[in-house]
Symmetry: C2
Subunit: 486 residues, 2 copies
């Protein structure tokens, strides 16, 4: 299998993370002049789909390739509701950059398949049939690979198959690019039939603006991605804040205070602290009493959170979660998914966000303990399953504190839960309540009735090798914070 260190165009840096050596491409605008060389043989890049990743990737690539003779063309279904939005972004039939999706696939040298998972499951045979032999299929996550595996099917052997998986949602991919930077990505070389797949993949990542590009496989990426969004990236956060909000109210807090001490503390100061100074810095910021409360909350939460996370991992890795996603997607045709934003907690959230001041909130030590225990349990589950440390650090920590939490800080957790990808929304509705209940029924009663420092669990937190790996990976994070505007 081709590896990114074998690139003919870009120079890769070796880094030591945990036990392993990995390679990273430090990117940035200065690499854009290399794109025509990286994309050797490619005249047309077809971007198929205009939902989450499509608008961001099509626009970033078009701007990165300005002045080259490579065209970026958007492909959508006839009558797609997204056509006006694509046209507003300048992709039109008139200028030859918008077409029917199969027409675009047939004429593209590199086809980026950014349609919804359910559509991927339905249409992949037709899409494979439409692709030019010798052309390249690009995926931005591994769902299709997992789906084919669960069906006992294989990729066609006459095309390259590559993955570029930005470490954040489409809006962040676009917004950070507009701000002059970009969002980190991982790339995967699944199938290389002409020796050019590595540079196509790296070129694609650089074109999206990735400041640091790591290596993975689509299976590993897909597992940690689907797992991660059900865990600390979204599902677990949703469950944790629902439980803590009620907990603080039960201890006498007003709804506004409880919202600040749960949601705002996580999406605000905890995320900022981890992003700048790592996980242990959260603990160090607390006073002595706070440190004790953190240890108790962490001790009470680690095992319950770990139990739900191991269940999620098994469901995802076994293909069971994909089968559920496909069944649920089919039901959505008749029964649209409900929203969570109507419940009283999220109504309070709107008021709290509107009343924010510049003063930084103090970190609530219980919230910090519960959140970090869950994050570390996720890190440990991924380590036990042999994922690359760069992937663990990125998908369990950096993506949370640099991309999703800041977005949720601006727009609300409920907004994210109600508006992310279908796969993520289904996962959050499925697993968020599980984290809520396991913490409510197990962790919080322990914390209240039998507060202890579990020495083994706390020792593992302080001595984990993830802290060093995170510090190294953090040197690769985008140089500017995301500014959420829409």
């Amino acid at each position: 299998m081709a590896k990114i260190k074998d690139s003919n165009v870009f120079e890769l840096e070796p880094i030591k993370l945990g036990e392993n050596e990995e390679y990273v491409l430090r990117g940035g605008r200065e690499l854009l002049p290399k794109l025509p060389q990286a994309f050797d043989g490619i005249k047309q890049i077809g971007v198929i789909g205009w939902s989450a990743q499509g608008p961001a990737q099509a626009q970033n690539l078009r701007e990165s390739l300005e002045g080259s003779d490579i065209n970026v063309v958007v492909g959508l279904r006839e009558g797609s509701k997204s056509i006006p939005s694509a046209e507003a972004a300048g992709f039109t039939r008139e200028n030859g950059t918008l077409g029917e999706m199969f027409d675009v696939i047939k004429t593209s040298d590199l086809t980026l398949l950014l349609i919804a998972d359910a559509a991927l499951a339905d249409l992949h045979d037709e899409i494979f049939a439409a692709m030019k032999p010798g052309s390249t299929l690009g995926l931005s996550h591994g769902f299709l690979i997992g789906h084919l595996e669960s069906q006992g099917k294989k990729l066609p052997d006459n095309i390259n198959v590559i993955g570029v998986c930005p470490k954040g949602m489409g809006r962040s991919v676009r917004r950070l690019y507009e701000q002059g930077s970009g969002i980190n990505a991982s790339v995967a070389i699944e199938q290389d039939i002409n020796g050019k797949a590595v540079d196509y993949a790296l070129g694609w990542a650089v074109g999206l603006g990735s400041p640091a590009t790591f290596e993975t496989t689509l299976t590993s990426e897909y597992t940690s991605d689907i797992f991660g969004e059900r865990g600390i990236l979204l599902g677990a956060v949703h469950g944790i804040v629902e439980t803590l909000y009620r907990y603080f109210i039960s201890k006498g807090a007003t709804p506004e205070e409880a919202f600040r001490d749960s949601v705002e503390v996580i999406t605000g100061p905890i995320s900022k602290t981890i992003s700048r100074d790592g996980l242990k810095a959260v603990y160090e910021k607390l006073d002595d009493r706070g440190k004790m409360q953190f240890r108790h909350a962490y001790s009470a939460s680690y095992r319950p959170a770990y139990s739900v996370l191991t269940e999620i991992y098994d469901e995802v890795a076994s293909g069971t979660e994909i089968r559920s996603i496909i069944m649920s997607s089919n039901r959505l045709v008749k029964q649209p998914m409900g929203k969570i934003e109507g419940s009283s907690m999220w109504q309070v959230g709107e008021k709290v966000r509107a009343a924010r001041t510049d003063e930084e909130l103090p970190i609530n030590p219980i919230t910090a303990g519960v959140y970090l225990a869950t994050m570390m349990a996720q890190v440990d589950v991924l380590k036990e399953h042999g994922h690359p440390y760069s992937e663990i650090a990125n998908e369990s920590i950096i993506e949370a504190v640099d991309s999703l939490n800041p977005y949720m800080h601006a727009k609300g957790v409920a907004h994210m839960v109600d508006n992310c990808s279908t796969t993520a929304r289904l996962g959050t509705r499925k697993w968020g309540p599980r984290f809520d209940h396991v913490l409510m029924h197990e962790a919080l009663p322990d914390l209240d009735q039998r507060p202890i420092t579990d020495e083994e669990v706390i020792e593992n937190f302080f001595t984990s090798d993830i802290h060093d790996a995170l510090a190294i990976c953090a040197t690769y994070r985008p140089p500017i914070d995301i500014a959420v505007t829409d």
Copy 2:
């Protein structure tokens, strides 16, 4: 396939339920003298396992067969922790009624396999190999059938395979028998190699004390059973009361009042009313304002509950839920399942039960609306999937109000959630939180902010043909209420 109406020993009654004709065996102690004839060719009944159903079935059968020459012998694994309990019930090596499980299987003419699902999944090949050719395998639910299907395996073709599925947990099977009655059952004839399977199955049901025995298939029974315990029998009740308890507190109730208005009202007066007079009687008991609140709560809850129930049905019917159960059971070896009873709500429940008076609680109309909407959504999902009406009425309504809710009324919902079968405990932990959240995020905000009577949904409630079917099935219910004593 043999049908119960073809019995050579018992007389079956035809009944019209919904669109279909079904057959029922009205049982009772007066049929016990027919058992030797029904069990023609059977000298030894091996009861394998001593957890939920084992103790009840072994003791009931032994007592029902007293004076015949048919022996009931319990088979347990070498060193099983259940041996002392079986011995205390009179099954001992000394008197020849207790043995190593495979020894008992090898010598039995009818082997009742009442071991845990995970053990069934592990051991079925060995068990099939141990059985005498021409003997009969008895199952009390369809898990093994579902598991074999999900693995592409088949039942051995040299044995009879029958099912007798009591409509309640083991404790109720035993307790009602001790009280002189028994619990209804459904029987399934899966494989009949000697023309005697129908009477073996009916004899087994009569021997357990079943006052009315209906017909099903193990696939249908298994689906509705696994589905039902995740739904209104346990998972949904757990979710409903968690959500309503918090809801009433948020409206100013004390914890004790909130517990009475949610849990106590469901397990007490609502269950009693449905059991005696049917579903619509709950509505009729309310005053005009209560009726309006019921309609609003029912309207707000039906669709959210239906959405979770269709998801459960799909997961169960596709085999996905079984695969998850097996993965989870494997994890339990290393990570024992947590309990829910420690959280504050269930602590309050203990106090409330201790302070009960004889006065009947008034039915809270919101609780009634949410509960009945969920129950009716479950009925509708099963009807859409073609289950027999007797099974729908029994497993969605009668089993709830006559068996599980009275038990939970005595011992607490949390006690049940923490102490039922592993498959049910896993299901309750998985789906209870989903009902909690979907009601909290969708139904209750609708009820508070946009209370309406959804005419279609309410009309369907009042005109459903389940009311007549339930009334007919209710004539078959055991003549006495269960008295929970331990």
